[in-house]
């Protein structure tokens, strides 16, 4: 009896550990996407609804380069990053820049429009049939506990890449001139302008970085979950926004923490509560966070001036 309980307990622990690792892996991808939201929200003070769809564009870019044109995976990844960066800058210039002084309602509706535009453009170009994505990761898998737990290369890649990005981005923002300009613009756009910072180019840079990160997230996401459709980016995008809010919007470490928590909640919820309700649980987290601590784990309070 005791032996049975012990073996059952061990199995349970192994399964839990496996889910946890998967959750952290998915969460790392969310974290990379959440960074894009957080940067843009912090600096342009807008919710870039189309951010999730840039991920999808990144996925298609890699797919096209590798499958259709037969490029190597490294070249394809580089291509995707360039495509998304250019796309991000273009979106900002064409759709958001004219609305810099408009109400947040107009900006949000425009962003939804851009998101819808990207999704349906992709649908016209790549059609409805899902594309099967070839993983761009070639890291060997790691076996633990005599093969009871296998960590796939994609999992390792997602976790490593997200750590590198968070560290790199923090260094960039705190220790370079362009990074500090971004901080200044996020504090006070007008004051930054008066101090001689080029606000327009700083905002462009922010979109470029965010979209480049989205391309990376797209590759990681499609390598782990290899079906690619025109709405591939939508749900992960919204969940990553939840992660950004959870961690405290505007905060880089917050995005990382929020992303991983959301990923773990989603995978554990899927495994232990209900597969159909996993998404609902993630959204429930968002609602709880906003009710209890709207500024998130690491966010700061902003007062409205009267």
């Amino acid at each position: 009896m005791i032996k049975y309980i012990l073996s059952y307990g061990r199995m349970f622990c192994m399964a839990f550990l496996d889910y946890l690792i998967n959750g952290i892996s998915l969460g790392s991808i969310y974290a990379v996407i959440a960074l894009g939201y957080t940067l843009v929200y912090g600096i342009a003070k807008m919710l870039n609804f189309a951010h999730g769809d840039v991920i999808m564009v990144g996925g298609y870019a890699v797919f096209t380069a590798m499958v259709t044109w037969g490029w190597s995976s490294w070249l394809a990844m580089l291509f995707a990053i360039v495509v998304c960066t250019v796309l991000g800058i273009t979106i900002e210039k064409v759709a958001y820049k004219p609305l810099r002084k408009a109400s947040s309602l107009s900006v949000l509706i425009t962003a939804i429009g851009v998101s819808y535009f990207l999704q349906n453009m992709a649908l016209l170009i790549f059609k409805e049939k899902p594309k099967v994505f070839t993983s761009v990761v070639n890291i060997p898998k790691i076996s633990l506990f005599d093969g009871k737990i296998v960590i796939k290369g994609e999992t390792t890649a997602a976790i490593l890449v997200s750590i590198v990005i968070v560290v790199g981005l923090s260094l960039f923002i705190n220790h370079t001139q362009k990074g500090r300009a971004m901080l200044a613009v996020s504090e006070d756009k007008d004051a930054a302008q008066l101090m001689g910072i080029n606000v327009n180019s700083t905002i462009s840079l922010t979109f470029a970085i965010g979209s480049g990160l989205a391309a990376v997230a797209g590759m990681l996401l499609c390598s782990s979950y290899p079906t690619l459709t025109n709405t591939t980016g939508a749900m992960p995008g919204i969940k990553a926004f939840v992660a950004a809010v959870f961690g405290g919007i505007g905060s880089i470490p917050g995005a990382m923490i929020g992303g991983i928590l959301i990923g773990v909640i989603e995978i554990l919820g899927r495994a232990y509560i209900s597969p159909q309700l996993a998404d609902a649980m993630v959204f429930a987290v968002l609602i709880l966070v906003l009710m209890i601590k709207p500024t998130g784990i690491l966010g700061k309070k902003v007062n409205e001036k009267v």
Partner: protein
């Protein structure tokens, strides 16, 4: 002195008049059999989308907040009423009575959801409110898609797992079958009923806007801090508006669910909320008549011009972006206003003077 209607009242009466004219025209065409069956099938959906659009316009245009949960409220209304109609379809055989009850049930249940969601959410503003309503809409859709309800001699059985989990007796019947949704709902929606509901919805909305409550809501939209300073309870008025929006969306859901034999929760996804938003934006934010026209035109157009069907969604996306940039960017807006006034000046050369002051009551 002859009493003149004030501009607001005049505006609403023009809308009522136009609606009636269209209704009579459609009825005549129906009687003479000059409407294709394909178009006939669109009549109820047009009313449904119009109700959704005018009710969303209440939140977007009058309250000034973006809600992306319209499909969720519609889903609640559709399901609540379909469950009701399925349960009573053998005991209440009078379709109009049954449908009237269903409409109230769908609307009220949706309004209750609206209030329950609104209480925690309406403290938030702008982007957060939009994303949370979107989240709620998705939760509602997911929960309904995972819901199994059946009944037998022992009563109602509810499960979130599977049909087998219900443990129905052999005489039992399924009402909601998870992702397969609801089947067998009586087809009580007719164009006439749908039109009457639309007409009443429009009256409710106009009357709401031009009342003490509507004024309070618009003042909150224009300047929240000033509205507080004159003693307005912000949360209360936001909640009332939100509940009314949810109620009407729920009613639209009732019309929708009783128009089709079967119904799946997956129909009420995020894309539907966006579609309704497109109607509101194209018709003009805050413009009730515009919402109805946009809903009707954008529902008819893809059906009439099949060739553009593939580009329909892309077209919607472009509408959102272009409309926003044209109405919110100072430079572009001034350009439009200047050129539009030139045009207007050419058409009505002889009319002059400030109309607004003259036509006040």
């Amino acid at each position: 002195m002859k009493k003149k209607l004030n501009p607001q009242t005049r505006k609403s009466f023009i809308t009522y008049g136009l609606l009636l004219i269209v209704f009579i025209a459609v009825e005549i065409l129906l009687k003479t059999g000059s409407i294709s069956s394909m178009l006939q099938g669109l009549l109820v959906p047009i009313c449904v989308y119009s109700i959704l659009a005018v009710s969303l316009n209440l939140t977007v245009g009058i309250l000034g907040e973006l809600s992306l949960g319209q499909a969720g409220f519609m889903c609640v209304g559709a399901y609540a009423s379909a469950i009701f109609s399925n349960l009573v379809k053998d005991s209440i055989t009078q379709p109009v009575l049954r449908f009237t009850l269903a409409i109230f049930i769908g609307g009220i249940v949706a309004a209750i959801f609206g209030i329950l969601i609104g209480i925690p959410v309406l403290r938030l503003r702008g982007d957060y409110l939009a994303i949370v309503t979107l989240a709620f809409g998705e939760i509602i859709k997911n929960v309904f898609a995972a819901l199994y309800i059946g009944y037998d001699s022992a009563g109602l059985h509810i499960s979130l797992k599977s049909q087998g989990d219900l443990g129905l007796k052999p005489d039992g019947k399924m009402i909601i079958n998870g992702a397969l949704g609801i089947g067998g709902t009586p087809n009580d929606s007719t164009f006439e009923i749908a039109f009457v509901i639309l007409f009443i919805s429009v009256i409710i909305i106009y009357n709401f806007i031009h009342s003490r409550t509507g004024r309070a809501v618009m003042s909150i939209r224009d300047n929240r801090i000033a509205a507080e300073s004159v003693g307005l309870n912000i949360t209360k008025y936001k909640l009332i508006t939100f509940a009314l929006t949810a109620f009407l969306a729920g009613v639209a859901g009732v019309l929708y669910s009783h128009n089709f034999y079967s119904l799946q929760a997956s129909k009420f996804d995020y894309n539907l909320s966006i579609l309704v938003l497109v109607f509101v934006v194209l018709g003009g934010i805050g413009n009730i008549r515009g919402s109805i026209i946009a809903a009707a035109v954008l529902t008819l157009l893809p059906e009439l011009l099949r060739s553009i069907n593939n580009y329909r969604m892309l077209f919607y996306a472009v509408i959102l972006i272009v409309m926003m940039i044209c109405t919110s960017n100072e430079t572009i807006r001034t350009f439009f206003i200047r050129n539009f006034q030139k045009l207007k000046g050419l058409i009505i050369k002889n009319k002059s003077g400030s109309e607004t002051v003259k036509e006040a009551e």
